[in-house]
């Protein structure tokens, strides 16, 4: 009964609306026809005449109007800048994934080929499975970005084409090649011989890297233009390509892509783990997540150094831009970055510690966690200490300035460099402990080897601390150079210790690793890591692009659009967040599609025999 009432009410409402609108048109017509002429003749009413005249005039006016090239067009609601920003960000995130996965898929496949261990081959295949859908997304988003740019920034895009038109054809050709390689690599996994297949993988990586290098040329040119006259006229496309920041960005992006790709792959594994029904599945995806995370963190460790190189090139190009980045409007962005990276390190270590639960005999290392945590927390705190502190007027007066007399020491470069280096070293020790927890060395010199490893760590840490503290006593010009021995000692220590470890654990007695026996929490940590990586990429993309401030091409082509201003960090973080959420929604689709394909090819892996410690 009730339902029918509602139905009747709806019908009545619709009918009512129709009647009213009909009435309105009718009345309009009535009013128009009030003119006596209209009653007697077919001739048009004065109103109609006036309307016709108006229309004719408008047409004439439009015809007479010369074509004016538009400089900017406006995207509805969110504005052109945000539209392009989000499209570019999404495109880049997918592109990063598509470029990164082949790198470590190929390496894993190679390991599988060399060791003859089929599990690695399966793992590589599983990673690749994520690729094809992601590739289509990348291409689609790339097209969207291009359309948006041409539509919204026609004038500026015209200029970029003026400089970079010679690079377009190679780009498109490479893109075709990429598609050919990718699909043949994926679909031909079991079709080709392993060697041919590996070559396909290599080709895929080379082409992918080349594509990225070309695209990087465009965007680095916007930041640090070269090869053009002051008026903007092109002098040399090659010079425009090889500008100041091109190579640093290439390297930085390559490493960051691997870190990002690894973390997204790990998130995929985590997602599958959580949905898994059988212990076998759980074991497999636990392992996959572990490998993905390993790749991500291994790439994360050298990333700050690549970042330093990039920053120093920016300084070399323009001190103004460098100071804008570090001292100016963007300085607070690096505090947010510190929080993100601190979270990354903390979460990565946390995952490893949780992972110790699945290894028999890991208990003996459990007591070290406390100290590692204290060091990591300390470094995190130092890194997140702002140079100039947000404080109330009273607090500022109490401090005698915007930096705190005690905390001020932690806000400067010496302290931060030291913190980063120690953080990297500590994370590496966490890894080492994890690796060790499953094995007991049997070589005779095990004790001595351990002692040497410890000594190397102590030496590296001492070097880092020494230069960190010494940095307060020397002038800035000298201090800047201190980062070299700091970074050097950390890198050297990591390499040396790894080498020793490989020999030390030769023929080690291995305890059981119970893959799949890990708390669900750890899998959420993996997903959290992926979100944080993605968000961090979004944020750093913003700062790289934002540094240009009100320029399309820094110092050459000015941005005169209404969006030329640099938005607040709060706004930027909102855009980044929305983009990240959209990305993860898309990613969900990719995962879902990948899992559809895998339904009938479930990994049949002997869980107990899995050995993930040695990558």
């Amino acid at each position: 009964m009730k339902k029918s009432y509602i139905l009747i009410a709806l019908v009545v409402l619709l009918a009512g609306a129709g009647v009213v609108s009909e009435l309105a048109t009718f009345m309009d017509g009535r009013l128009a026809y009030e003119s006596p002429q209209a009653i007697d003749h077919e001739a048009p009413t004065p109103r109609e005449l006036a309307l016709q005249e108006q229309a004719a005039e408008a047409t004439k006016e439009a015809q007479e109007q010369p074509y004016v090239e538009e400089k900017y067009r406006e995207f509805p609601v969110i504005g052109s800048r945000v539209a392009v920003w989000m499209a570019a960000q999404l495109h880049l995130l997918f592109a990063a994934f598509v470029l990164a996965v082949p790198i470590f898929a190929l390496i894993i496949e190679l390991i599988g080929y060399k060791t003859g261990d089929k599990r690695y081959d399966d793992l590589a295949y599983e990673f690749t499975k994520l690729l094809s859908t992601a590739f289509s997304f990348t291409a689609t988003l790339g097209a969207l970005l291009t359309f948006l740019l041409i539509a919204l920034y026609p004038h500026f895009m015209n200029y970029l084409m003026h400089v970079f038109s010679p690079t377009f054809l190679p780009y498109v050709l490479l893109f075709f090649l990429e598609a050919v390689f990718l699909y043949s690599y994926y679909y031909g996994w079991h079709a080709f011989s392993k060697r041919v297949h590996l070559c396909l993988g290599l080709g895929l990586n080379l082409v992918g890297t080349a594509i990225m290098f070309i695209a990087n040329a465009w965007l680095t040119f916007m930041m640090t233009p070269a090869g053009v006259a002051a008026s903007g006229a092109r002098i040399s496309t090659w010079e425009a390509v090889t500008n100041y920041t091109w190579m640093p960005i290439n390297i930085h992006r390559m490493i960051a892509n691997v870190a990002f790709g690894g973390s997204v792959a790990a998130a995929y594994a985590a997602f599958q783990f959580l949905k898994a029904k059988t212990p076998e599945e759980r074991a497999h995806y636990d392992w996959m997540g572990y490998i993905g995370n390993f790749v991500a963190i291994a790439a994360l460790l050298p990333l700050p150094f690549a970042g330093y190189w990039l920053a120093s090139e920016i300084y070399a190009f323009s001190q103004t831009m460098g100071l804008t980045m570090m001292g100016g409007a963007f300085s607070w962005l690096f505090i947010i970055q510190a929080i993100l990276i601190g979270n990354l390190f903390l979460a990565a270590n946390y995952y490893l510690w949780l992972g110790m639960g699945r290894i028999e005999g890991a208990e003996r290392f459990r007591s070290y966690i406390k100290y590692l945590l204290i060091v990591i927390t300390g470094c995190f705190l130092v890194w997140a200490t702002p140079r100039s502190i947000l404080a109330t007027v009273d607090e500022v007066q109490a401090m005698g300035g915007s930096s705190h007399p005690a905390l001020g020491f932690l806000g400067v470069m010496s302290a931060k460099n030291t913190a980063v280096n120690i953080l990297i070293l500590t994370t590496y020790i966490s890894f080492l402990l994890y690796r060790r927890s499953g094995r007991i060395p049997t070589v005779k010199w095990a004790k001595a080897g351990n002692a040497v490893q410890f000594a190397i760590f102590a030496l590296a840490a001492t070097t880092v601390l020494f230069f960190g503290i010494y940095g307060y006593f020397v002038e800035a010009a000298v201090r800047i150079k201190f980062s070299v021995p700091q970074v050097g000692s950390v890198l050297a220590a990591m390499i040396l210790v790894t080498v020793i470890d490989i020999f030390l654990l030769r023929g080690a007695k291995e305890t059981e690793t119970r893959w799949g026996q890990i708390s669900n929490t750890s899998q959420y940590v993996l997903i959290f890591l992926a979100v944080t990586f993605t968000w961090l990429m979004g944020l750093m993309g913003y700062v790289r692009s934002g540094l240009r401030q009100h320029w399309h091409v820094y110092g050459v082509i000015r941005d005169t659009s209404p969006d030329a201003f640099t938005p607040t960090l709060g706004f930027a973080t909102k855009v980044v967040s929305v983009t990240v959420l959209i990305f993860f929604a898309f990613l969900g689709v990719v995962f879902w599609l990948a899992s559809l394909g895998g339904k009938h090819g479930k990994p049949e892996v002997a869980v107990e025999a899995l050995d993930g410690g040695d990558v």
């Binding site: 400089k71 004038h155 006259a229 002051a230 008026s231 903007g232 997602f271 959580l274 949905k275 409007a329 607070w332 962005l333 505090i335 947010i336 929080i339 993100l340 947000l390 959420y524 997903i527 959290f528 979100v531 944080t532 968000w535 401030q549 009100h550 110092g555 082509i557 000015r558 941005d559 005169t560 030329a564 201003f565 640099t566 938005p567 607040t568 960090l569 709060g570 930027a572 973080t573 909102k574 980044v576 967040s577 990240v580 959420l581 993860f584 969900g588």
Partner: protein, 191 residues
């Protein structure tokens, strides 16, 4: 009450991004705008114009990207020191004001010996100075070796407000900018 995994993951993702957004709101919020467009009311004094002009030269006009004041040696663009002294005598029939105005509105028409063309039309985008801004720039240039006489009422040749004068033909030829060849011809003719 078992929450499905995708939902949990979604909640985690939203919570994490939400947290970072929150952190982003805690830091100082500064919006950096491009160099301000100087509001030029019609009652500015000559001294005001000079000051604004100097600001435009170093800011919006980007003049000092290329030009220098008080430098010598191998320069890519003419040094502007003492430009007011030279301006009145450089081209026959051109007084100081006309010369400066032409150099600003149509920089390629007359090229100082020893230099090559390359200055963009600053009255057009991307620099896009308005007539009044160019007025201020001229006022500043007048002080470089001379005395500023520019007022808001002075009619600046080549500007939109200028009546058709003997030079408008030349300016039109340059204005449409379709054929560089014709520009060169003008240069020849004018020189």
């Amino acid at each position: 009450m078992q929450i499905p995994v995708p939902l949990k993951v979604a909640i985690l993702t939203i919570a994490a991004t939400g947290f970072y957004t929150y952190v982003g709101q805690l830091v100082p919020q500064k919006e950096v705008h491009p160099p301000e467009v100087v509001e030029m009311s019609s009652d500015l004094s000559t001294a005001d114009l000079v000051e604004i002009g100097e600001g435009i030269m170093s800011g919006k006009g980007l003049c000092f990207t290329c030009h220098t004041v008080g430098k010598s040696g191998a320069l890519r663009f003419p040094d502007l020191d003492g430009v007011a002294i030279r301006a009145g005598s450089r081209r026959p029939g051109y007084d100081e004001l006309t010369y400066l105005a032409e150099s600003l509105y149509h920089p390629d028409v007359f090229i100082v010996e020893g230099f090559s063309a390359g200055m963009p039309q600053i009255s057009k985008p991307p620099i896009g100075l308005t007539d009044d801004e160019i007025r201020a720039v001229i006022a500043y240039l007048q002080t470089l070796g001379g005395q500023a006489t520019m007022t808001m009422d002075t009619v600046v040749p080549f500007s939109a407000a200028a009546p058709d004068g003997p030079l408008s033909a030349a300016s039109e030829a340059v204005d449409d900018g379709t054929a560089t060849g014709s520009d060169e011809a003008e240069v020849e003719g004018a020189a």
